[in-house]
Amino acid sequence: MKTQDVRVLVMRVGGTNCDAETQRAFTELGAQAQVLHFNEVIKNHSILDYNALVFPGGFSYGDYVRAGAIWATGTLTKLRKDLKEFVEQERPILGICNGFQVLVEAGLLPAFNGISEYPKATLATNIPIGYRCKWVYLKHENSGNCIFTKNIPKNKVMHIPVAHGEGRFLFAKENEKRYLQKLYDNDQLVFRYCTKDGDYPNGEFPVNPNGAFHDIAGICNPQGTVFGLMPHPERAFYGWQLPDWAKTEQAPTFGDGKLVFESMIDYLKKRF
């Protein structure tokens, strides 16, 4: 398919608040992107009319239970069949920040053996505790499986901001080792927090902004078509969004976040 034929659905519910800038990232690259309220999707639309699905950032339904849990339940209740088909057809699903939390709560990630009935991981309260908005460095760990980072060289260090209070990626203690091995075996590990020079903080704040296990910032499913991450690539899309763009006489045109959206569109162009 051609770029201009790519149809992306950015879903939102009450409390979602990063839909507009996420939509902008796709339209800037020439794709079609539509923002629709979940209620409208259920009533008048089908996700299967779209080539890709995005759960953007925010506080869906206030996140009054665990972050992402309410929207995940709602999505599964209303869209389970369509969602399964969507994933099986290897159409891409992207979850950013709250969207990542939704994908994990819905069992779409890490999805070692397909969509799991119960969450296999969690995004727990930050350590140190509290909401935090800051720019972090991420190291690209994927060896080519993740379709959202195909255009990014392995080990590239990227500069992208985080803004969340619940972003500490965890497995249950007893599964930690086994699941981590699976992430590596299946090439599901995508981003880890690191220093500017690419060194891992081993959980240490502030380089690891939330205490995430193994400094994990983003993972994909074994097929590489469902991807969730805590950092916000849509906030690092343009050069003028970067925190230090004013340092140079000529600001860069784009930031590292653009690579994620570009890779996804390239995949769709080749695949469908």
Binding site: G15, N17, E21, R24, H37, F59, E234
Partner: protein, 791 residues
């Protein structure tokens, strides 16, 4: 017999016997009902009902009490004031609005009229701006008070059909290390208030997805009993979608949250002094926040606007539905019939008056024509927002309220919106203050260390990082600059995807100067707000004023308020920066006295191209550092003196012609691309500004005090380093552009005073040619960052 007669209806309704009440009894009634009306006002009410030949109901008296409160009607600013030299009819008209009227800029679309000021931006888009105070609720319940303050100001933006794009917050607390044993009864410790307020603001803005991009935190003993919380919001609106055209027959549609007992008498509470009983008595006056509800309301209103389904909108804030319905009818010269039973409640058991005045949050009022009603209700349903037709606009100019078929209020709108004038007298005497005499300290490096960790100067990173300042992805210049989180002077947003035009948001606050002279305090705040804006590339600046003062019935408080208002006129006019909106909060007094006069000036500028924005950190070794503006021996109220426990009296002034000229030339230098860095000089003066520029960059700086443009009598190194004279900037220029820059700056005080170095050291040569300050940059950074817990 009791003056309160319970009516024979199946709900709580009380008639109050005003007919026979004498003066003392009128005051008693006002007190017993908690409506805060004074004798003159109560007498006017009495004569109104005697003309009507009946007694009022509790709903009616409550409605009048809410509408006539200082908070809703701003009686003091509209009142008659006698000063020793003159009679002032309306402070607001004479000083605040007059500057705008005389300047009459064609880019001001709506000033002082609507819930927010509206100015032109780009093509079909305008900017709306509003700043609110939420002091008293925050003193009682810091988290809820601050959160609902943010929620309230966001609704003001929604109430002009704008989409909120940024929030600001300026906070004043008592010292965090305040001695517990000195706390008056019923007063919460500043540390508790601080953490609650900060969390409340962050929670509301973050949950709604509106970036909090600009603010300030100030500490002073006078805020121990009465915290000051300013919440601001800026919005973007398509000009052709603005509509304010309620017609008779239109439906009054209440949307958003349900109504409960939270926030009863919020406005009368806000218009009184805080006492040790406030905690107990006024707890119900504090509202409860639900930002997700407001997020949904925002979405629905944006859709309604784009589809053109509403005929007018206002927010339900202070005074609740009683004020909202009355105001909407009044501004269209209509009447309204409200059916109280149609208002959705959180729980049963509320008396009609409680339903009518409750300030439960996240509610908006719209007028919608009959033919658009069905479509409008569909929009709200899709967004999961409750929408209830609660009344109808009429032609008769009467505010009629019924509950389950029974009339509970019937008032002439003309009467409700014409309270008696406030009358006040002023008596302000300048305090007798001495300029201190102490020898110049031998070690100025240590002085600088001490100043960088003063709470008013130290990094606020530990607070700012808890606010999402990046959401919406439009923040071009952030509150924390680059790697080391430098303190940028203003925030720059790029709200439109297809335009490089930016919105520049900054603020000015100089509470310490007000202790010496409120006139120069106001002038300095205006200068500071404007120079912060100009420093990053802002121009065509509009101002917002927010006064937080003590009880205006006390002549000294009123006198200082008048002085500050005069400065507002003089300097808004002089800088050609019109006021577009404002809000005052008076009666900020607690058992430890009034708050120090606190004027916040918020400046909203624009920049034609965000790519030309200049940040504050040094950029490149070997570049030259220039000082723009002149330094005077003005250390009264300075942080330098404060660090020594002194106030002094040489308060900084603003030399109007010189100040305007300086700002204009800075704008031209930015447009010509001469400035690599630019930082305004404020608290802590030259030394602090230079240190901030250096430790935010990773480079060093060398300065020579002898080259600083200054008055002849300035012979002390510490005074040149720490004077807080207004209208000054420190700028960085490359060697290549020096000649051009210097040519442009002819006619302005400007001199090359140093260079950027590669060695992470700040070094200053004194007036006698000897080194007077030598500091390691990482050490300066550490002291500045860690004082308030930053990392």
């Amino acid at each position: 017999m009791s003056r309160y007669v319970k009516k024979d209806v199946p709900f709580e309704l009380v008639e109050i016997d005003l007919k026979t009440a004498d003066d003392g009894q009128l005051i008693e009634i006002s007190g017993e009902l908690g409506i805060g009306l004074n004798l003159t006002e109560m007498k006017l009410v009495q004569s109104y009902f005697s003309r009507k030949k009946r007694n009022p109901t509790d709903v009616e008296l409550q409605t009048i009490g809410q509408t006539w409160s200082e908070h809703c009607y701003h009686k003091t600013f509209k009142g008659d004031i006698s000063t020793p030299n003159e009679q002032i009819r309306s402070l607001f008209k004479t000083y605040i609005a007059r500057a705008t009227e005389e300047l009459d800029p064609d880019w001001c679309i709506s000033v002082f009229e609507d819930n927010a000021g509206i100015i032109d931006f780009e093509k079909n888009y305008a900017i709306a701006a509003k700043v609110e105070t939420h002091n008293h609720p925050s003193a009682i319940e810091p988290f809820g008070g601050a959160a609902t303050g943010t929620g309230g100001v966001i609704r003001d933006i929604l109430a002009v059909w704008a989409d909120p794009i940024a929030c600001t917050d300026v906070l004043c607390f008592g010292p965090l290390d305040y001695d517990y044993s000195k706390l008056p009864a019923g007063t919460k410790h500043p540390k508790y208030v601080y953490s609650g307020v900060v969390a409340g603001i962050g929670s509301y803005g973050n949950n709604m997805g509106i970036p909090t991009v600009n603010g300030a935190i100030n500490f002073d003993e006078s805020y121990v009993g009465n915290v000051v919380v300013y919440c601001g919001c800026v919005g973007l609106l398509p000009k052709d979608k603005f509509v304010k055209d309620t017609r008779a027959g239109d439906v009054a549609l209440l949307v958003g949250g349900e109504t409960g007992r939270d926030g009863i008498h919020g406005v009368t509470f806000a218009s009184a002094e805080l006492t040790k009983e406030s905690e107990e008595i006024s707890r119900p006056a504090v509202q409860i926040a639900n930002p997700i509800e407001e997020e949904r309301v925002k979405r629905a209103i944006n859709r309604l606007r784009d589809a053109g389904l509403g005929s007018a909108i206002t927010d339900i804030g202070g005074g609740g539905i009683s004020c909202g319905t009355g105001e909407m009818a009044e501004r269209s010269n209509l009447g309204i019939h409200v059916y109280l039973e149609k208002i959705p409640l959180k729980y049963q058991g509320l008396a009609p008056w409680e339903i009518y005045v409750s300030e439960s949050q996240e509610r908006m009022l719209l007028s919608v024509s009959e033919k658009n009603l069905k479509k409008a209700l569909e929009v709200f349903e899709t967004e999961n927002v409750k929408a209830s037709p609660i009344g109808k606009f009429t032609t008769d100019g009467i505010l009629k309220v019924t509950y389950k078929g029974q009339t509970v209020a019937e008032l002439d709108i003309d009467f409700v919106f014409n309270p008696p004038k406030f009358v006040g007298t002023t008596d302000w005497q300048p305090p007798k203050l001495d300029e201190p005499t102490f020898p110049e300290p031998a070690d100025l490096t240590k002085e600088l260390w001490g100043m960088l960790s003063m709470p008013n100067i130290a990094s606020k990173e530990s607070v700012i990082r808890t606010y999402d300042h990046e959401v919406k992805g439009n923040t071009v210049l952030k509150p924390l600059q680059s790697k080391y989180g430098g303190p940028n002077d203003a925030a720059v947003l790029k709200p439109l995807p297809d335009s490089w035009k930016g919105v520049v948001i900054s603020s000015g606050l100089n509470t310490n100067y007000g202790k010496i002279d409120p006139y120069w305090m106001a002038a300095s705040s205006i200068d500071e707000a404007i120079r912060n804006n100009v420093a990053v590339g802002g121009r065509r600046i509009a101002l917002l004023d927010n006064f937080t003062w003590g009880n205006p019935q006390k002549p000294d408080r009123l006198g200082s308020l008048v002085s500050a208002c005069k400065a507002c006129y003089d300097f808004a006019k002089g800088f050609q920066t019109p006021f577009i909106s404002g809000k005052d909060s008076l009666y900020n007094e607690s058992p430890i006295g009034p708050v120090t006069p606190t004027l916040l000036i918020t400046a909203i500028g624009i920049t034609p191209d965000v790519r030309k924005t200049v940040s504050m950190e040094l950029k490149q070794p070997k570049n030259s550092i220039y000082m723009v503006g002149k330094t005077y021996p003005e250390l009264g109220g300075s942080q330098y003196y404060q660090n020594k426990g002194i106030l002094g009296n040489t308060v900084p002034k603003v030399r109007m012609a010189q100040a305007k000229n300086t700002m204009d030339q800075i704008t031209k230098s930015i447009d010509n691309g001469y400035l690599r860095a630019c930082h305004d000089l404020s608290e802590g003066g030259l030394a602090v500004a230079a240190a901030e520029m250096a430790f935010s960059s990773g480079y060093g700086i060398e300065l020579d005090l002898n080259k600083v443009p200054r008055t002849e009598q300035m012979s002390r190194n510490d005074f040149v380093l720490f004077s807080e004279s207004n209208s000054r900037f420190l700028v960085e220029v490359t060697q290549k552009r020096k000649t051009e820059f210097e040519a442009l700056m002819k006619g302005v005080y400007c001199a090359e005073i140093g260079t950027v170095t590669n060695d992470e050291v700040m070094s200053v040569t004194g007036l006698d040619g000897k080194q007077v300050l030598h500091a390691d940059i990482p050490e300066l950074r550490r002291r500045w960052k860690s004082a308030l817990g930053g990392k």
